[in-house]
Symmetry: C2
Subunit: 539 residues, 2 copies
C-alpha cells in the first residue's frame, strides 16, 4: 500500500478533505494530494527520506496537515512535538526520538531554535520566512523526485510522546497497523458516513488531534480544522460547517456549552475523552440532546480503548462503554490475576491498536507489558454488560485539562531550587480542569515564597505542569518505610485551616474559602493554549 | 485475533445480530455467539477442525449463519456449495476443493448424498433428521472442547466457486485479510451506522449473500435474512424491519419495484450488482428516490471493486463509480499496456481484497495475474473523475440473473449428445435476466428437436445454465482460422426471419416476433430459485 492520502485521492478525488474554519477555505482530496506531493518533493530536496525522524513543531494550521501526509508519503517517521513544552523539555524529546530534522513555522521557530540549540546537527526547516540564518525556508528548497513509500502493517508511522509515570517522557511507537486498526474500530463504534465532517479543535501533537486526520483520510470524509480553541466560535463552527462529529476534552465541552447553551443538531457524536467526563456534564448533554460519547484511551493504544454510545452514557453514568471491536480489556488484581465483574482492578489492554512498545526504551516496555497485554495503570471495573468504568490511576499521574502530568517530574524540578529541601506534588480536584497540580514544599528557610517557586518552575516546565497551588510544610507526611503519603499531602493542601504563607492580599480579601498561596489567576491566558490541548490521547 | 463473532460478542453483546424475516425472530450477538459455540463444539465432536474443508450445502436459513461462524471459530476452511447445481457439478466441486465434510439439511440432503456418491469418504452431517443412514445428525453429535482458531491475514477463510472462463469451475481462495479489507472498504464507501440493518435476500453460497454476514459482524450491525426471494414480501421487509441497506441483483430490484412501486425510505443504500444495472432501472430509482448504488465486483476480489454513490449513479448513467479505497484498477490494452482515460481496455485489479489465486490451480492463477494484478476479463473505460464504466467481457461469459455461465461448459454438454455434431452458445439480451443463454446447434440429422436438446441439458446443468433458446443451423459461422464468430451466431439467433425448427404451435400462433424453438416459458419456476441467486460475486 501507498500512503492513505494517495489511495483516497484516487478513490474520491472530488470529495472535500479539509476545511480551515478560520477562513472557510476548502481543499478536495485531489488538491490536498497535489499539495502534499509538492511538500514531499521539497522535503526530499532537503534530503529527507524513509530513514528520517521528522519532528513537527507547529501550531495548528493547514500546512501541518500536509506535513503529516508528506511524512507518510516519504516513509519518514513523524515525531509530533508539543509546542507548549519548554526548550529544555523539547531538547530531551528531540534527542530521545532521534529526530533528524524539524519542521517549524513562524510561531514556533524561536522555540525550535532554542530546543535544538544543544543538538546543532538537527536541521530546521520553516514553512514561513525564517528569522534565523540556519533555519532553511521550505519555499527555497528545490523539489526532488522521491519514491512513494510502501510499508507493512508493522512498520513505524509515528513516535508520539507521553508523559509516562516515571518522570521521563517516553516516545510511543505507533505503527501503520495501530493507526489503521484504531480508525476502523472507531468507525465500527461511532459509525461513519461519506458526508461526515469531523471538527478538530485539538492540537495535532496529541493523538486526539492527529487521529482524525488519518481517520478522515481513510474514511473519505472531511476534517474541519480550527487553529485556536475559543468556546463560542468553536461551538459556532459546528453549525456553520454542518459538523457531524467532534473530539473534545471535558473542559472544552463544558465551556462550549457555557458559551452557547447547546450545540447544533448536525452532530452525530461528541467524542469526549482525555480526562474523565464529570457526571454533571454528561447529564447536561442528555438534557440538551448533545450526543456525547465518553471514551477512554491513551497514546499507547492509538486512542480509543472503549467508547460509550450516547444512550448508554446517559443511562449508565460514569461508563466509558465497551471496548472497541478487536480490543480486549482484562481487569486484574495486584498479582496480575483477572478479577470478577464489578471488582476493581487495573485495566490491561491487548489488540491491534496497542503499541509494540516505547522507542529505545526496553525497560519501560518490559515494565508496561505482561502476557495479558499493556498495563494501563488505570484502575476501574467492568459491569455485567462488559462496560468499563474508570475509577483512578494506579500511579500518581495527574490529568489536567486533558494533559498528563507526572508528579515526579515536577518534584524533580522543585528539588533543583536551592531553597527547597523536599517537595511532594499531587493532583487536586478542579471543576474546570478535572485536576490541578498542587505542590507541598519543605523550604530550607522561611524566605522562600510561592511566587519564587512558581518562577523557578515556569522556566523549566510547560505551563500545564506548573503547580497552581504551592503550600509549605516543615515535613512531608511519610509512611514508616519512608514513602510520601499522598492522601495526607492532599489533606494538608485542602485543609480549610491551612496557613497560607503568601499572597496576604488575597487572603486578606476575606474569602471564606481562602485562595491558597500561589493559586494565581491565570485562567484566561491558560485557556487559550491549555484547553485546546486537551484530549491528549484518548479520542 | 479470534473469530470476528467472538470479538463482536464482547464489543456489543446486546446488539441485534440477526433477524429471520420469515418469523421476525431475533438473536443478539451474545445469543448468536452461544449458538455458534454449541455448533462448533458439535462439529469438533465429529472430528472437524482447522485442517478441514467444510462444505456447506444449505438453503438460506438461520443455521447457515451459524455454520459460517462456526467454521471460522474452528479455523476450518468454509466451502459454500451452490444448491442449484446438479449432483454431477457438485461432485466435481467437492473433489476440486478437497472437501472433507459437508453440512446439509433436510432440503439439501438428497442432493448432498447424490453429489458425494462417488466420493463416499466425505462424511455428511445434517442439521435436521437425516433420511439416509450414512448421514450424521448434528443433534446426535457430542460436543467436544476445541481451540478457538487464531489466524493471520493471509490465512485461508473460504474457498468459493466461480464458473470461470474456461468451462471448469475454479475455487477462489479468499483469506481473512481479503474479506476484512473488503468489509472495511465497503464501509468507507457506503458508510455504516451502529443501527444499520442489512437485508440479505441473496444466497449464502455466493459472495453477495455471504459478505454481509461477515461485514455485519465486524460492524456490529444487524442482518435481516430472508429464505425465499419474493418481490413483494422482500420489498415489505425493508419497511417492516427498518432496513437501511440491501444487496440485490438488477432482476430482483426490478421485480420489487414492479411489485411495490418504490421501497421504504429507511433505506440508505441499495447495493446493486452481479450484472450491469440497466439505465432504465437506475432512472426509475432516481424518480422514486431509491438510493441505488451500482457496483462492480467479482468473487476473486471478495465482492466490490468499485461502487457508485447514488448521486453519481443517477447523474452519470452507466457508471459503477470509483474503485474502493485501497483497490487500484488499471485499464489495459491487448498488450497489457495502460490506456488513456476514456479508452476501452480490460480492467486489471490490485489491492488487499484480491484473492491470492485459485485453489490447486496454478495454471489458472498464472493466466489470471500479471504484474499489474488480476485480469478481470471485463472491458470498459474510466472517465475524467476516475469512475469506471463496464462495457463487455473479453471472454464470452454470460451473466444471467446475476449468475455466471461459461458458454464452453454448455457447449461441452451439448456435444455429449449423440445427435449433436457441433454447437455454439452465446448470451442474448434479456430484459428480465440481463442476458439469457442461447444455443445454435448443428444436428446430425433432422430428427433432433429443441425439446430433446433441453432435456439432455437439464440432466447435466444447473437450471440457470440451460439454453432458453435453441436453434439449428447447417454450419456454424467461423473465421478463416476456424474460430466461431460469436457476433454472427448472435445475428442468426436474433434474426426475425430465422426458421424455427420446432414448436410449430407457438409460431403458428402468429406472433409477429415469433418465439424461438425451445424458448420455454419457465419464468415462474425459474424465478423462485434463480433470481434469489443473483448477485453472485459483486456485492
Amino acid at each position: 500500500m501507498n500512503d492513505w492520502l494517495a489511495h483516497r485521492a484516487r478513490a474520491t478525488p472530488d470529495a472535500t478533505a479539509l476545511v480551515w474554519a478560520e477562513t472557510g477555505d476548502e481543499w478536495t482530496y485531489a488538491a490536498l494530494d497535489d499539495a502534499v506531493d509538492d511538500l514531499a518533493g521539497r522535503l526530499a530536496g532537503l534530503g529527507i527520506g524513509p530513514d528520517d525522524h521528522l519532528g513537527m513543531l507547529l501550531s495548528t494550521r493547514v500546512e501541518a496537515v500536509r506535513v503529516v501526509h508528506a511524512a507518510m508519503r516519504l516513509g519518514a517517521t513523524l515525531v509530533p512535538l508539543n509546542t507548549r513544552l519548554t526548550p529544555r523539555e523539547l531538547d530531551d524529546q528531540v534527542e530521545l526520538a532521534d529526530v533528524t530534522a524539524v519542521v517549524c513555522g513562524e510561531a514556533t521557530e524561536q522555540l525550535a531554535v532554542e530546543a535544538t540549540d544543544a543538538a546543532e546537527s538537527v536541521p530546521l526547516v520553516s514553512l514561513d520566512e525564517p528569522q534565523w540564518e540556519h533555519v532553511e525556508p521550505l519555499s527555497a528548497a528545490s523539489s526532488e523526485p522521491f519514491d512513494r513509500a510502501d510499508w507493512a502493517d508493522d512498520d513505524r508511522l509515528l513516535l508520539l510522546f507521553t508523559s509516562g509515570t516515571t518522570g521521563d517522557p517516553k516516545a510511543v511507537t505507533l505503527t501503520y497497523g495501530n493507526i489503521y486498526s484504531s480508525a476502523v474500530a472507531s468507525a465500527f463504534r461511532l459509525g461513519i458516513l461519506p458526508e461526515d465532517r469531523w471538527l478538530v479543535p485539538l492540537s495535532l501533537y496529541h493523538m486526539g488531534g492527529l487521529a482524525p486526520l488519518y481517520r478522515s483520510t481513510l474514511y473519505g470524509s472531511t476534517v474541519v480544522l480550527r487553529g485556536e480553541f475559543e468556546p463560542g466560535p468553536t461551538a459556532d463552527d459546528v453549525d456553520s460547517y454542518d459538523v457531524t462529529g467532534v473530539s473534545l476534552v471535558p473542559t472544552m465541552l463544558k465551556r462550549m456549552l457555557d458559551s452557547r447553551g447547546t450545540l447544533a443538531d448536525s452532530l452525530r457524536f461528541v467524542l469526549l475523552g482525555g480526562a474523565p467526563a464529570p457526571d454533571s456534564l454528561v447529564e447536561r448533554c442528555r438534557d440538551y440532546h448533545v450526543p456525547v460519547c465518553p471514551t477512554y484511551g491513551m497514546t499507547e493504544t492509538a486512542s480509543q480503548i472503549s467508547t460509550a454510545r450516547t444512550q448508554e452514557a446517559v443511562e449508565q453514568l460514569g461508563t466509558v462503554g465497551q471496548p472497541l471491536f478487536g480490543t480486549d480489556v482484562t481487569v486484574v488484581d495486584e498479582d496480575g490475576e483477572p478479577v470478577d465483574q464489578g471488582e476493581l482492578g487495573e485495566f490491561v489492554v491487548s489488540g491491534p491498536t496497542v503499541t509494540p512498545g516505547y522507542y529505545h526504551n526496553p525497560e519501560a516496555t518490559e515494565a508496561a507489558f505482561s502476557q495479558l497485554g499493556l498495563h494501563t495503570g488505570d484502575v476501574g471495573y467492568r459491569d455485567e454488560a462488559g462496560r468499563l468504568y474508570v475509577r483512578n490511576r494506579k500511579d500518581d499521574r495527574i490529568i489536567t485539562g486533558g494533559e498528563n502530568v507526572d508528579p515526579g517530574e515536577v518534584v524533580a524540578v522543585l528539588r533543583e531550587h536551592p531553597g527547597i529541601e523536599d517537595a511532594a506534588v499531587v493532583g487536586l480536584p478542579d471543576e474546570e480542569w478535572g485536576e490541578k497540580v498542587a505542590a507541598l514544599v519543605v523550604a530550607r528557610d522561611d524566605e522562600l515564597t510561592a511566587e519564587e517557586v512558581e518562577e523557578h518552575c515556569r522556566e523549566r516546565l510547560a505551563g500545564y505542569k506548573l503547580p497552581r497551588l504551592v503550600d509549605f510544610t516543615d515535613e512531608l507526611p511519610r509512611t514508616a518505610s519512608g514513602t510520601v503519603e499522598r492522601a495526607a499531602v492532599r489533606e494538608i493542601l485542602t485543609a480549610p485551616d491551612r496557613v497560607d504563607v503568601a499572597d496576604a492580599e488575597e487572603t486578606a480579601a476575606g474569602d471564606a474559602s481562602p485562595k491558597a498561596a500561589g493559586e494565581t489567576d491565570e485562567r484566561e491566558s491558560r485557556d487559550e493554549t491549555a484547553s485546546r490541548d486537551g484530549d491528549d490521547d484518548a479520542l
